[in-house]
C-alpha cells in the first residue's frame, strides 16, 4: 500500500514538473540544481543568518561554501533540505520552489538530497551497517539491494571492518565517514556536506575529499561547507565565500584544473599539502563502479 502511495506521489511530482512555465520555456534548458533568490533568514530573536543571498549551482558542479563561523553556511544547507525555511526569498531545487512542497512530500526531497550533517546525526541505537541501511529502507529498497549497496558504501569510506559497531564506539572521524556513507548510499543527484572534514586528520580529510570528488565525477552535484582554507585552495574548484550572511566572493571555473582522475587528484593534493602515506581509505575504488546519480525530480 505504501508503495502505491509513493508511486502516486512521484506521479504528482512529475505532473508538477510539466507545469506551463517549464513547457513554454523556449530554451528548454534544465534549471540549475540549486538556486537561491534573495534568500533571507532571520532567526527568532533577530539574528540575521542570511541576507538576500542569490546564487546558482549548475548540475554536476563541485562547489565549496566557505566563511568564518556564524556566517550562515550551515543555515544555508539546512534551508536546502527544508529543515529551516527562509524568512524571505525563494529556494529552488531543480527549478522547484521548495517552500511550495506540501509537508508530506518533504521526505521525498530529502531522499534525493544526500546530506552529511555537521553533527553527523547518526542513529545511536543502530550499528554502522544499520545506519547506512536505514537510508535505503526509508526509500523502500529491497533486502537484496541493501545487502549489495551498504557494504560498498562502507568500503568506500573505509569502515568495512566496523559493520557491527555502534556510533558511540567510533572515533569522531569514523562517525563522520559513516555520515558520508549514509549520505551517498542511494546515489543522490545532489550531495550536501556540512564540514565533512571538520574532525579529521589531513590524511583522512584528503581521503574524504577524494571520495567526494569521485562522487562528483559520476555526475552528482556536490556542495561542501568548510573552513579548511588550505584544502579549498588546493582543490581548485568553485568557491563561494559568505560573510555575515552575504556572498562576498564567488570564484568560479577560472581556476579549475584540467580534468584529472581521482587518483591523480589525490596524489596532487597530498603532495601539495605535504601529506604522505595512506589516507585511511582503500586505494582502489569500489568493487562495483559507482553508477552515478538518479534524477532529482523525474522530468
Amino acid at each position: 500500500m505504501a508503495r502505491e502511495k509513493t508511486k502516486t506521489r512521484r506521479r504528482g511530482l512529475r505532473r508538477a514538473q510539466r507545469r506551463p512555465e517549464h513547457v513554454t520555456s523556449e530554451r528548454r534548458t534544465k534549471p540549475p540544481i540549486v538556486e537561491l533568490r534573495r534568500a533571507t533568514k532571520i532567526y527568532p530573536g533577530g539574528t540575521v543568518a542570511l541576507e538576500r543571498v542569490s546564487l546558482r549551482v549548475e548540475r554536476g558542479e563541485f562547489v565549496f561554501l566557505v566563511g568564518p563561523t556564524g556566517c550562515g553556511k550551515s543555515t544555508l544547507i539546512k534551508m536546502l533540505i527544508r529543515e529551516l525555511e527562509p524568512t524571505e526569498g525563494e529556494i529552488l531545487i531543480a527549478g522547484r520552489d521548495i517552500a511550495t512542497l506540501p509537508a508530506e512530500r518533504i521526505p521525498y526531497l530529502r531522499r534525493r538530497v544526500g546530506t552529511v550533517f555537521q553533527d553527523f546525526k547518526l542513529l545511536p541505537s543502530r550499528t554502522v551497517y544499520d545506519n547506512v541501511a536505514y537510508a535505503l529502507q526509508v526509500i523502500g529498497a529491497s533486502r537484496a539491494e541493501i545487502k549489495r549497496k551498504v557494504p560498498d558504501a562502507l568500503r568506500l569510506v573505509g569502515l568495512a571492518d566496523k559493520l557491527s559497531s555502534y556510533p558511540d564506539q567510533l572515533s569522531g572521524g569514523e562517525q563522520q565517514r559513516l555520515s558520508v556513507a549514509r549520505a551517498f548510499v542511494n546515489h543522490p543527484p545532489l550531495l550536501l556536506a556540512d564540514e565533512p572534514t571538520g574532525n579529521l586528520d589531513p590524511a583522512t580529510s584528503i581521503g574524504i575529499m577524494q571520495l567526494l570528488y569521485r562522487i562528483n565525477r559520476t555526475g552528482t552535484t556536490v556542495v561542501v561547507v568548510t573552513h579548511d582554507r588550505e584544502m579549498v585552495d588546493k582543490m581548485r574548484r568553485r568557491v563561494i565565500a559568505l560573510d555575515r550572511g552575504q556572498v562576498v566572493r564567488d570564484q568560479a571555473a577560472g581556476m579549475y584544473a584540467a580534468e584529472e582522475s581521482t587518483t591523480e587528484f589525490a596524489a596532487r593534493i597530498r603532495e601539495e599539502m605535504g601529506v604522505e602515506g595512506p589516507t585511511g581509505l582503500p586505494p582502489s575504488g569500489p568493487k562495483r563502479p559507482y553508477s552515478g546519480p538518479s534524477e532529482l525530480f523525474e522530468d
Binding site: 529543515e83 521526505p107 526531497l109 546525526k121 547518526l122 541505537s125 536505514y134 526509508v138 526509500i139
Partner: protein, 305 residues
C-alpha cells in the same frame, strides 16, 4: 508485506533496547487495566441492581367488585394499548388473598384471613401495570385517569375504583437511582480519563527520550508513517503485555477471593455481571488500542521538522 515485517521487527528492536521506559509503560498499562478490570464488573453490578429496583415499581389499578369478566378483559386490552406500558398483569380477588396469606405466613403472623366471616374476600381484583421506565409512570397514570371536564380525574373505564402508585416510594427510588446512575457515569468517565492521561504520559516520556532519533529519521527522508508504525507496534506490544499481566492478576483475584465469596454474598453472584471471557477481551483490546493510538498521537509533535 516486507514493510509490515520491517515495522514489526523495528518495533520489537526498540522495545528490547529501551528496556526501562518500556517496562514503565507496561507497568502503567497493567495497573490501569487492573483498575478497570475491577471497576467494570462493580459498576455493572451496581447499575444492574438499581435497574432491578426501578423495574419493580408499577401502578396498581383496583377494580370494583361488580366488574364483569368482559369489562375486565376490555380494560386489560385498553391498558396494554397505553404508550410506555410494558407489562399488564391481572390479579384476581382470589390471587390477591393468596398473596396476602403467603406474606403473612412469611412474616410468621397469624393467618387473619381465616377469621373472615363466611370466607368473604374483601380484597379487590387489580391490574399491575408496569411502565417501560420509572420516569414515565406519571404519564401512564395520566393516561389511565385523564382529568375530566370538572377537573376531577375521570378513569377510562367505570370499573376502575382507584389507581394507586405509592407515589412517595416511586419518587424516592427515582431520585436515588438517578443519583447512583450519574455517580457511576462520572466515576467511569474520570477513571477512563485518568487512565488515558497516565498511559499517554508514560508513552510521551519514552518517546521524548528518543526525539533526537526521530529527528534524524526525518532528516534522512523517512515519511511520518514510516517512523510512526514501529512506535505503534511497540505500543501494541506494551499494551498486550501490560494487559495480560493485569488479566492474570484479575483471574487470580477472581479464583481466590470473589468466587468463594459469591456463594454467601448475593450482590456478587447477581446475573448481570459481565462474563470473564468477555471482560478479558474487552480489557486487552482497550489496553492495546490505547497504547498504540497513544504512541501514534504523541509522536505527532516530534514529527514537525
Amino acid at each position: 508485506m516486507g514493510r509490515v515485517f520491517f515495522f514489526i521487527a523495528e518495533g520489537l528492536r526498540a522495545l528490547r533496547r529501551a528496556g526501562a521506559p518500556s517496562a514503565a509503560a507496561i507497568v502503567t498499562v497493567a495497573v490501569t487495566v487492573l483498575l478497570l478490570g475491577v471497576l467494570v464488573p462493580v459498576l455493572q453490578t451496581t447499575s444492574g441492581k438499581t435497574e432491578e429496583v426501578r423495574d419493580q415499581v408499577g401502578l396498581r389499578v383496583f377494580l370494583h367488585d361488580d366488574a364483569t369478566q368482559e369489562e375486565t378483559d376490555e380494560l386489560g386490552a385498553q391498558l396494554r394499548e397505553i404508550q410506555h406500558v410494558t407489562q399488564v398483569e391481572y390479579v384476581s380477588k382470589d390471587q390477591a388473598l393468596e398473596i396476602l396469606r403467603d406474606r403473612l405466613e412469611a412474616e410468621d403472623k397469624e393467618d387473619l384471613t381465616a377469621q373472615l366471616p363466611g370466607s368473604r374476600n374483601p380484597l379487590p381484583a387489580s391490574f399491575n401495570v408496569k411502565p417501560d421506565d420509572l420516569d414515565n409512570i406519571n404519564t401512564v397514570r395520566a393516561a389511565i385517569t385523564p382529568p375530566g371536564e370538572s377537573g376531577e380525574p375521570a378513569p377510562i373505564s367505570p370499573i376502575i375504583e382507584e389507581v394507586a402508585d405509592s407515589r412517595d416510594e416511586a419518587d424516592s427510588i427515582k431520585s436515588v437511582t438517578g443519583a447512583v446512575k450519574w455517580f457511576l457515569i462520572i466515576i467511569a468517565g474520570l477513571l477512563l480519563t485518568a487512565s488515558l492521561l497516565l498511559v499517554g504520559n508514560t508513552i510521551r516520556l519514552s518517546i521524548y527520550a528518543r526525539r533526537r532519533e526521530v529527528e534524524v529519521m526525518r532528516l534522512v527522508g523517512a515519511t511520518n508513517w514510516f517512523i510512526r508504525w514501529p512506535f505503534m507496534v511497540e505500543g501494541l506490544v506494551c499494551g498486550a503485555i501490560g494487559g495480560l499481566i493485569a488479566i492474570a492478576v484479575l483471574f487470580l483475584g477472581k479464583e481466590a477471593v470473589v468466587d468463594p465469596l459469591s456463594d454467601s454474598v448475593g450482590l456478587i453472584s447477581s446475573g448481570d455481571t459481565i462474563a470473564f471471557a468477555r471482560l478479558v477481551i474487552l480489557l486487552l483490546a482497550v489496553a492495546m488500542g490505547v497504547s498504540a493510538i497513544g504512541s501514534g498521537l504523541t509522536l505527532r509533535r516530534f514529527l514537525r521538522i
